[in-house]
Amino acid sequence: MDYIILIINAMLINNILLAQYLGNCPFLGVSKQMDTALGMGGAVIFVITLASLITWSINQWFLIPLKLEYIRTLVFILVIASLVQFIEIFMKKTMETLYRALGIFLPLITTNCAVLGVALLCVKNEYTFNQMLAFSVASAVGYSFALVIFAGIRERYRIAEIPKSLQDTAIGLITAGFMSLAFLGFKGMVH
């Protein structure tokens, strides 16, 4: 039961994109078309899960015993950057089709603060291994969920008449605001 609450909480109520404001730059950048949003969503789920798994282990087994917690930020970002590079090379060699689908999104993900954000939240909330796994998968799925919905709305803007000054980022932010308002409604699910 605790895990169900944790998952619903991470996915819908405290959605990392709409309630915790993580990963907004790619959110506004790649959400103009449905298929790029789907690709980005897939890549994000994959990278966030792996990155949290590795950073959590490093924190638990190296940084804490060696009393090096103060360089956590430095270590985490290095791990994430090299992980993304590694995944890119590995995918290129072994999984051609997956690489063609997700490949171009991978370099973008290094600067996606959602990845580092989730890794840091796992440590900050002092999750156990299972909780960390549930939290990071649920967060990443929530992120992709919001990204895909948002892309769906944005595709419609192409046939709508929007004042010139409001186009692109401005209307995107206002739309995100109303989506975020809708997601606030999920708060009623857990008491």
Binding site: A19, Y21, T73, I77, T111, I174, G177
Partner: protein, 201 residues
């Protein structure tokens, strides 16, 4: 003249995050009160200025192929410094900003300036560029945060501004308010710029 121009562009045609639409996450997340906005802005300015200086100094040594990784290490070092300084001297602010202090490292403004400016220019220009863009960012954050604090709590920097009859509009403190306020500000900026281009102002 050129040096002054590098400094002032951060306030005019490259004002982040309105003209340079980068670094949206901290912009949205920490601007719940004016003092948070100014704190976050100054912390970012610190990291940006010092990373610009170092990137500029090392620009002929760092090999082009691994430059992004090197920049990230430099930036992360200064972020750790800021984290420790905030923890030591401004602990309440550190707690309010939470993970967003550590997340300065992935603020695209900083990596963007290192890549687009500091890696190509001398130390004086890079310092001024970092300071200018950083202070412009601080100004924008404080402005956005003041609006949200004013409407959400009726105060600015914790001082009561609105009269007795004012009913705080909590929407602006919550996440949706952040998105909508920034969206509307961006719209107003674009609108005034288009008027200016047409020569109406």
């Amino acid at each position: 003249m050129g040096a002054l121009r590098e400094f002032t562009k951060g306030f005019s045609d490259q004002l982040p995050p309105f003209r340079l639409v980068l670094g949206l996450c901290p912009t949205l997340a920490v601007t719940t009160s004016a003092s948070n906005g100014i704190g976050m802005g100054l912390a970012t300015t610190f990291v940006l200025t010092f990373s610009n200086i170092l990137v500029s100094l090392l620009r002929n040594i760092i090999p082009a192929k691994v430059r992004i990784a090197c920049y990230i290490v430099l930036i992360a070092t200064f972020v750790v410094t800021v984290e420790l300084l905030l923890k030591a001297f401004f602990f309440p602010l550190y707690q309010r900003l939470g993970i967003f202090v550590a997340l300065i490292v992935v603020n695209c403004i900083i990596l963007g300036r290192a890549e687009a400016f500091a890696s190509k220019n001398g130390i004086l220009y890079s310092t001024l560029d970092g300071l200018g863009i950083g202070l412009g960012f601080t100004l924008s954050l404080t402005f956005l945060a003041s609006i949200r604090e004013l409407l959400g709590y009726g105060t600015i920097f914790g001082i009561k501004v609105m009269g007795q009859g004012f009913e705080p509009f909590r929407f602006f403190i919550k996440a949706p308010g952040a998105f909508v306020t920034l969206g509307i500000l961006l719209y107003l900026m674009n609108y005034f710029r288009s008027l200016k281009e047409k020569g109406k102002i």
